[in-house]
């Protein structure tokens, strides 16, 4: 089968690229072996969390771009970053929307009892930013080992209660299982009445971020009606239910737009001719399926996603074998302490691209003229420290697709 564009990688950058191309009326194939870090690490939309809450995102980004021309944001440019974010937002109309407070970063409470600076916050987490000003009750669940309500209560000087899932004591549960429980009206009825019994003068009630996969705002509003308190979600250890919601929304909308969606498939081979990529092969033992396209986007992520791999000697790009900028030896990949400032040089490694997101070699020459590279696999950012993961994914996915198709 032939496509206008093949997107390799189904994390947020790949999904954004597929969205952008589909909205340009193109025939798109997106292939991914998993959901990228979306379902693991993404709760809110970080753009540049290192900015103080007093600075408008636009101003902060513009200064950042000036100071970091090599950074993916430097290559995207301010205007396109903002365009990309509104394109992302178009998939999330209210009630479940992603919003900022006054176009600045805000501090959301986390599962470690810390506050974390982020930009766009899903409607289910919004009330969390008022935690410091209001009296709150944090809800934990027996048998759910990835969230400890009393730990949060000790940090935030508020109260916590632990509810049981069912009459069966000591049942082990997970975030995904809890999200399904939450979608059952009878379960909500039971926990809401338990909360009503135990709540004192608290006006806020915090839950781990498991308020259902499909209709989190429906779950939130129902619990608010039943308890009389404002409900908010708190980001927890992976997996991320909010991240899965984003994925599910993209999947549904992209399929509606006619995108061919191949989840759970990995590309076994890329077909190259000269400085062009002609297509990909996907191995389904014993069958090999081939797909061809005029243009390709590589959005396979870093080490977790499998876009980058490392052996004892060097770091490589896994699919095309593109050059990866990296320190001279393994000795220099990491700092001596875990919490070091500046952080580990390995996080700055990645694929170099030109202004049109085509991969470059060490001499600065374009290696593949119809391949664009997007997402965290790009060099010269430090998305963990900068808190820029989703912003980089959204904006580079958006721009890479535009550049690919404007040829």
């Amino acid at each position: 089968m032939h496509f206008d564009l093949i997107v390799i990688g189904m994390g947020l950058s790949g999904l954004m690229a597929a969205k952008t191309a589909a909205e340009m009326g193109k025939k798109v194939l997106i292939v991914g072996k998993g959901l990228g870090t979306l379902s693991i690490l993404s709760n809110t939309i970080d753009v540049l969390g290192v900015l103080p809450e007093t600075v408008k995102m636009k101003d902060g980004l513009s200064q950042w771009i000036e100071e970091h021309p090599e950074h993916p944001y430097g290559k995207v440019g301010l205007e396109k970053i903002l365009e990309a974010i509104s394109s992302f937002n178009s998939f999330f109309p209210p009630p479940y929307a992603f919003q900022s407070r006054n176009e600045t970063n805000s501090l959301v409470p986390t599962g470690a009892g810390t506050l974390r600076s982020t930009y766009l916050i899903p409607s289910t987490m919004m009330k969390g930013i008022t935690l410091k000003e209001k009296k709150a009750l944090v809800i934990g669940f027996k048998g759910y080992k990835d969230f400890y309500a009393h730990r949060l209560a000790d940090s935030f000087k508020c109260r916590a209660i632990t509810l049981s899932l069912s009459e069966t004591p000591q049942q082990e549960t997970t975030a995904t299982a809890l999200a399904r429980w939450m979608e059952q009206p009878a379960f909500r009825e039971r926990i809401a009445s338990e909360i009503k019994k135990q709540i004192k003068d608290e006006s806020l009630v915090g839950f781990p971020a498991v308020l259902g996969l499909n209709d989190p705002m429906g779950v939130k509003r129902d619990l608010e009606k039943k308890t009389g308190a404002s409900i908010f979600e708190i980001p927890v250890l992976p997996p991320s239910i909010p991240g899965m919601r984003v994925f599910n929304r993209f999947k549904q909308r992209l399929i509606q737009k006619g995108v061919t969606f191949l989840l759970g498939h990995s590309v076994s081979k890329v077909i190259l001719r000269g400085n062009r990529c002609e297509g990909i092969e996907i191995l389904h033992p014993p069958v090999v399926n081939s797909y061809s396209a005029d243009r390709h986007i590589l959005a396979t992520g870093r080490f977790i996603g499998g876009g980058l791999t490392a052996d004892r000697k060097k770091i490589s790009e896994a699919l095309f074998g593109l050059p990866v900028v990296q320190p001279a030896s393994r000795q220099d990949w990491f700092q001596k302490t875990f919490f070091s400032d500046p952080s580990h040089p390995i996080h700055q490694t990645g694929v170099l691209v030109d202004s049109s997101f085509r991969p470059l070699n060490e001499k600065g020459e374009v290696l593949l003229e119809n391949v664009r590279v997007a997402g965290t696999i790009l060099a010269h950012h430090h998305c963990i420290e900068e808190k820029s993961r989703e912003g980089i994914e959204i904006s580079t996915g958006y721009v890479a697709a535009q550049k690919a198709l404007s040829m």
Binding site: L41, G111, Y148, E172, V236, F303, A310, R330, K336, R389
Partner: protein, 510 residues
């Protein structure tokens, strides 16, 4: 606070705990002071080899004889701490057979049962070893659990009246007329100060021996040798695999439950507190041990660690491996005119009991009493509980049950109820103590997930002390020392995940 004791033991390694038990069985009261937890030094940082003595048969026959003797004793007194795997000494083509023949003779002389196996017989028993081996010699090596062994020595000693002060450092000595009258000590966690009067002092601080002696203005000849080791994510062989050649870097693979430990290097060190495993050591250990088991090259490593061996030297010697691994018992009365002070250092983990016996004998002589040692006859408290592997497996079959709550540690399958029971029953003073006494954080993720859960549990139980995020950060730094040297491949993926969780989702920073 003022404390009086007959004997003061300084150091809570295998030797200190062994002395404590030996004295308690002889009815002599003692107090043991340790600045960290039990096994904070070399006792908790070795390859866990239950020596047959084979490794010393050629180079140090006396040490070899001590080893095989202790090997026999511990099979009786501590069977539950030992996995009797046997060991192979494999000869590779480049090693030739000349050393093997000397080795066989030396084993016979030292009383170590050694059987020569052909290449085919050895490969049938250990299919993972290099097919090019010339032959293998089987000896009664095994794997030992240093943590259980030392803690059981301490528990038995405590039952017989011995006392312990952990996390307590010695700050100064009171000397009076050729004797140490007492010491001043400080609780390093809560700051309480102690003045301890003792009739006799035993310096069992291992690599820290000179740091303690400095307080008395004394010094002994000692070399510090760093030995680095790697832990694989899976068990590479059933038996201990040694290289049949003169001791060298990377010549041993010791199985330990579900993993294997690759050792070791020997690098002269000056600092007993700050040392790291270098990338060169990691590469060397992989290169050398994969000569014996080729699959090691592709196997994921979960951690690197190093211990400092205290090697006693009577005069300057350059090659650390030529210094005897035998121990040194120093009567500072004879040597320096300090009548009531004894230093014991050097030696090997496996000979801790013998070292304790010799110290206690010397002490009895000084005290003018005659009570004989019984540690070689009396089994440790846990002995006999799970005497055989099938019985241990049977117990494990019931290990996981829904009533015990959620599995906090997915790698080592530890359930909430077990941790809760442990926290309520044991006297622990912080995260490191907990980690020394459970298998939490010992698996593939090295505590990346379960420590967060453990800290949460402490809050649930209202047992959390201080800022849990500071404790968590401290743990992640300590963990970093172990995993940083082995980060590539799958381990690097997991590292990126954990960093994204702790620095990303949870926003913990420097």
């Amino acid at each position: 606070m003022k404390i009086q004791t007959e004997v003061l033991i300084i150091g809570g390694g295998a030797t200190g705990a062994g002395i404590s038990r030996d004295l308690s069985l002889r009815g002599i009261p003692s107090l043991l002071v340790e600045k960290g937890d039990f096994l904070s030094g070399a006792s908790g940082r070795n390859h866990g080899l239950f020596h047959s003595g084979g490794r010393y048969a050629v180079s140090d026959p006396e040490a070899a004889r001590e080893c095989i003797e202790e090997n026999r004793i511990h099979r009786k007194i501590a069977p539950h701490c030992i996995e009797t795997t046997d060991g192979f000494f494999v000869s590779l083509p480049e090693d030739g057979l000349e050393f093997r023949d000397r080795f066989l003779k030396a084993c016979e002389k030292a009383g170590i049962p050694a059987t020569l196996l052909t290449r085919d017989d050895a490969l049938a028993l250990e299919p993972g070893i290099h097919p090019d081996i010339l032959s293998a010699v089987k000896v009664p090596d095994g794997a030992i659990d240093p943590f259980t062994l030392v803690l059981e020595n301490a528990r038995d000693a405590e039952k017989n009246g011995a006392k312990f002060l952990l996390h307590t450092g010695i700050t100064s000595l009171d000397m009076e007329g050729g004797r140490v009258k007492g010491v001043r000590a400080k609780d390093l966690i809560h700051g309480e100060e102690y003045s301890i009067e003792a009739s006799y002092l035993i310096n069992a601080t291992g690599a820290w021996a000179n740091q303690f002696l400095r307080l008395a203005g004394l010094r002994i000849g000692m070399a510090l040798s760093k030995g680095s080791l790697l832990i694989t994510n899976q068990r590479m062989s059933h038996r201990v695999i040694n290289r049949c050649r003169p001791s060298s870097d990377g010549d041993i693979i010791v199985p330990n439950e579900t993993v294997s430990i690759l050792g070791t290097t020997s690098v002269r060190s000056e600092d007993v507190e700050n040392f790291e495993v270098t990338p060169e050591e990691v590469d060397l250990l992989i290169l050398e041990t994969s000569r014996m088991i080729p699959k090691i090259k592709e196997t994921r490593l979960i951690r690197a660690y190093a211990g400092i061996r205290p090697l006693f030297q009577s005069e300057e010697q350059d090659d650390d491996r030529s210094i005897s691994r035998g121990f040194a018992l120093i009567d500072h009365g004879k040597r320096d005119g300090v009548e009531n002070l004894i230093t014991i250092t050097g030696g090997k983990f496996v000979t801790y009991r013998l070292m304790a016996e010799k110290v206690s004998d010397l002490l009895c002589q000084k005290m003018g009493i005659s009570v004989s040692c019984s540690t070689h006859l009396k089994p440790l408290p846990g002995a006999g509980k799970y005497p055989s592997l099938p019985e241990r497996l049977k117990k494990m079959g019931h290990l996981i049950s829904p009533e015990k709550g959620e599995i906090l540690c997915d790698c080592e399958l530890i359930q909430r109820a077990e941790v809760e029971r442990f926290l309520k029953e044991e006297k622990v003073k912080g995260l490191q103590d907990i980690l020394h006494r459970t298998r939490l954080a010992k698996g593939t993720c090295q505590g990346g997930f379960c420590i967060y859960r453990l800290l949460g549990l402490l809050h649930d139980l209202r047992m959390a002390e201080g800022d849990s995020n500071e404790v968590l950060k401290g743990f992640l730094e300590e963990r970093w020392r172990g995993i940083r040297p082995v980060l590539w491949g799958t381990a690097l993926k997991e590292e990126e995940l954990l960093e994204s969780i702790y620095k990303g989702i949870f926003n913990l920073g420097p």
